[in-house]
Symmetry: C2
Subunit: 101 residues, 2 copies
Amino acid sequence: MDLQLLEKQLKAVSDTNRLTLLSCLKSGEVCVCDFVDVLGISQPAVSQHLKKLEEAGIITARKLGTWKHYRIVENPSPIIKTVLDQLEERELCNCRPSSSC
Amino acid sequence: MDLQLLEKQLKAVSDTNRLTLLSCLKSGEVCVCDFVDVLGISQPAVSQHLKKLEEAGIITARKLGTWKHYRIVENPSPIIKTVLDQLEERELCNCRPSSSC
DNA sequence: TTAATATATAAGTAAATTATTATATAAGAG
DNA sequence: CTCTTATATAATAATTTACTTATATATTAA
């Protein structure tokens, strides 16, 4: 892996909110709308965090109607794998009423 | 490893200059004075970068007279080990006249 | 002791990052 | 088509980070 990508990935994961996003994604796909409640920041802020992780090649997305589901890429780099190993899986309570998808 | 330390270490290594410092340290101890030329930034800036790496538990130092030599800690965390694996060792030319130690 | 050198700390500034609010886009419902 | 909802993008404000210059500390040499 080249140095530039390494740095990009490290920058992408060196943030509390984005580490939390990854904790949630450990167990599988998550809808954007669920992240807003988890982080307690605005929807655009969440969107920007997801973009940063996506641009670093850490997560990928698929669209389901108006919703968008993000997941961790198939084969993450060694650094990302190691980071994920250190993170505890975080359950999302999808049963709560505000979850729309 | 707890989440706070994880984030601290990730922040510490997600910077070009500090990754360069680590590349130099892969091969062993390095004197602070040598880093100034390598990075091309001021001496206080180098000192601050080293402090950040030290506070994250990534490097440690010993004093030799007025000089100070830094090295990577004995048993780095899994993340730091993985980062180091991705870095190419970088040789320092200690034979250049400006190297004082 | 005084002078010189290596490094660290402090204070201030510049640059980068992360948030917010406002707005755009895109899909489904009526 | 119009309305609503989910998400993204743009513009900007707030915060954090990384530099610089100036100064302090500590060690050695004279």
